[in-house]
């Protein structure tokens, strides 16, 4: 081998960028779908919440005369988005960071940019699986989404994914892995109970009603419900979600530490 004598163009030595990113996305997706705890948070938990809220009366929700399954499913989809983009991604990235995986992959042709792109694509792939599973269960329970709301709902889901992935990277890139593990699960529970994901902010008790509307979770839940219930996407919710996305993306880019 005489590669030392010549200097071939780097583009000839590395796989094409799209193939590197796709490989990373596939690797990340398989990692989530193979991991028991991750599956529990991303698939089992949302389905259980969907069944719990529609088949039992444990939680009081004022559906405003709408079918309960129609009212609950958009919130469950919002929860699924947060569980994958935030909780699952924060934990995975934090441990990859602690174990040096981020540093090692940054030395391969994938690079840091490719790693981030691969992670984001991986999140979207897992979300696709979630939508298929949750959608199938909801449809079996009689869910009738507003047909005109599906496209806006996809856009809102993408914005929510960007927002919560940025939050995940902010935590994973600044805190210890064990801290992220605890915090990411705790935040998910808090957002489910009082963050306006499942229960509309205005139905939450006391000051939470005002607060939750301005949380990314409340905004995501409200926008998702508005789209899929056919009542119209509230512009305020989209503005709040976009503002959080910009802030968190900036903070993640600014404070993320690779090692």
């Amino acid at each position: 081998m005489t590669t030392t004598t010549g200097t071939p163009a780097p583009s000839a030595l590395a796989a094409p960028a799209w193939r590197r990113v796709l490989a990373q996305a596939g690797f990340e997706t398989r990692a989530v779908l193979r991991n028991g705890e991750q599956l529990l948070v991303t698939i089992v938990l949302p389905v259980l919440v969907l069944l719990g809220l529609t088949r039992t009366g444990v939680v009081e929700i004022d559906t405003g005369g709408l079918a309960r399954i129609d009212f609950v499913t958009p919130g469950v989809l919002a929860l699924a988005c947060v569980s994958t983009a935030f909780t699952s991604q924060a934990i995975a990235t934090a441990f990859d960071r602690r174990n040096g995986v981020l540093r090692l992959l940054a030395t391969t042709p994938l690079g840091r940019g490719g790693l981030l792109a691969g992670k984001l694509l991986g999140v979207l792939a897992v979300e696709l699986v979630q939508v298929v599973v949750i959608g199938a269960v909801a449809l079996a329970l009689g869910w009738q989404p507003a047909a005109g709301g599906i496209l806006p709902a996809i856009g809102i889901g993408l914005l929510g994914t960007a927002c919560f992935t940025a939050l995940a990277l902010l935590l994973a890139g600044t805190l210890r892995a064990e801290g992220v593990l605890a915090l990411a699960n705790l935040v998910l529970v808090l957002l489910v109970v009082g963050g306006g994901l499942l229960v509309p902010p205005e139905q939450l008790p006391g000051p939470l009603a005002q607060l939750a509307a301005f949380l990314p979770s409340g905004a995501l839940g409200e926008a998702m419900r508005g789209a899929l219930l056919g009542t119209g996407v509230p512009p305020l919710a989209v503005a709040v979600l976009a503002a959080w996305t910009a802030l968190l993306a900036w903070a993640a880019a600014r404070f993320f530490r690779w090692q």
């Binding site: 004598t5 780097p10 490989a23 990692a31 090692l104 030395t107 042709p109």
Partner: protein, 357 residues
């Protein structure tokens, strides 16, 4: 610097790859060229003006005690850290500014592994290979390093040596021109170590520049064409192993023996010194470290561990006789006695000191 006494292979491979120049003259044509590197953490200089050269087709060892700055130096070469001073060039490029161009040409094995713990070993190797246009045959490489037997095991469950072998495979799967291996044999059993050493030699013979950090003397001695001995963030000695063993001391031999602890080192030195021509001036220091200077050669007698003695000097048959005679006079039975050459470890300890850190 003389190049004629480097171990076989190194110079042949280098000169055939670069017939028109001697890359060692000023390091300009070297695969890795570090000049005056400075890296600070919290105001402390971890690397303090370090110079280092590594050639294509050669194994370059960075040898040093823990905390000497080896890993930081290598990480600056890998583009993982930005230097605070000095210059780093890998294949003529800046590892940070030209990272995109360098990544496909440089292979890295990190000290802490960096392997995703949840994935299977074989999957990790295939994944890293997918980043390159023309990677090595993954199965063939896996077989070379014995990865096939644990390819379906998750990284989390691998032993230390298995992880190291997988990390090495990941570092070389993209056919890099420069490979950085940070303590490649850490935690390896002897079989793994020899498999790794074999692969490193093969990479060298193929023309790859291999840079490895180690604190294992035998690794540096067996593998390296050039050794940079590092301490406190600087290179304190550079050369091939024969050069480091010092031409003046080429005839020095080491007598090692085990006996009851606490022998009088000064007296042992004096007994050996009597085998030399000329008068002794017996300058001695410390109860555990006696040095007797005597003419052209000097005897050093130490007891690195209680009951284990090392005598270094121009030892011939008479010195051996003098030593055993002294032991007999003092009614001491040596349970083991060996005669050997001065080793890199002796040089290393001379350079970096014997205190623990």
């Amino acid at each position: 610097m003389p190049t004629s006494i480097a171990p076989s292979g190194a110079d042949g491979a280098t000169s055939s790859a670069r017939p028109a120049e001697d890359p060692r003259a000023d390091g300009a044509g070297a695969a890795v060229h570090v000049r005056g590197l400075v890296k600070r953490y919290g105001g402390r200089d971890v690397v303090a003006g370090l110079d280092l050269v590594a050639d294509a087709g050669a194994v370059t060892a960075v040898l040093g005690p823990n905390g000497a700055g080896k890993t930081t130096t290598v990480e600056c070469c890998e583009g993982l850290r930005s230097p605070d001073g000095g210059s780093v060039r890998v294949l003529g490029l800046d590892p940070v500014a030209d990272a995109r161009a360098l990544r496909p040409r440089v292979g890295v094995m990190l000290q802490d592994g960096g392997l995703p713990t949840g994935a299977r070993a074989g999957e990790v190797l295939h994944h890293v290979a997918a980043m390159y246009a023309a990677p090595r045959d993954v199965d063939e490489l896996g077989e070379r390093l014995g990865i096939g037997s644990f390819a379906r095991t998750t990284v989390r469950r691998l032993s230390g040596g298995q992880r190291q072998r997988l990390s090495l495979a990941a570092a070389v799967v993209g056919r890099p021109e420069v490979v950085f291996l940070d303590e490649p044999s850490a935690g390896m059993d002897p079989q793994s170590r020899h498999a790794v050493w074999g692969l490193v030699r093969e990479l060298r013979d193929e023309g790859t520049a291999v840079v490895l950090t180690t604190h294992l003397m035998d690794e540096a001695e067996d593998l390296a064409d050039r050794v940079h001995v590092m301490d406190h963030g600087r290179v304190i000695a550079t050369g091939s192993v024969p050069e480091l063993l010092s031409p003046d001391a080429q005839d020095d031999r080491t007598l090692r023996f085990d006996a009851v602890p606490g022998l009088d080192l000064t007296a042992v030195g004096a007994a050996l010194g009597s085998t030399l021509d000329g008068p002794l001036d017996g300058t001695l220091d410390g109860p555990l470290d006696g040095t007797v200077a005597g003419g052209p050669g000097a005897w050093t007698v130490t007891e690195p561990q209680p009951g284990s003695y090392v005598v270094t000097g121009p030892a011939g048959p008479r010195a051996l006789a003098a030593l055993t005679a002294w032991l007999a006079d003092h009614d001491v039975l040596a349970s083991r006695l060996t005669v050997g050459r001065r080793t890199l470890e002796d040089v290393f300890l001379d350079l970096t000191g014997r205190h623990l850190r």
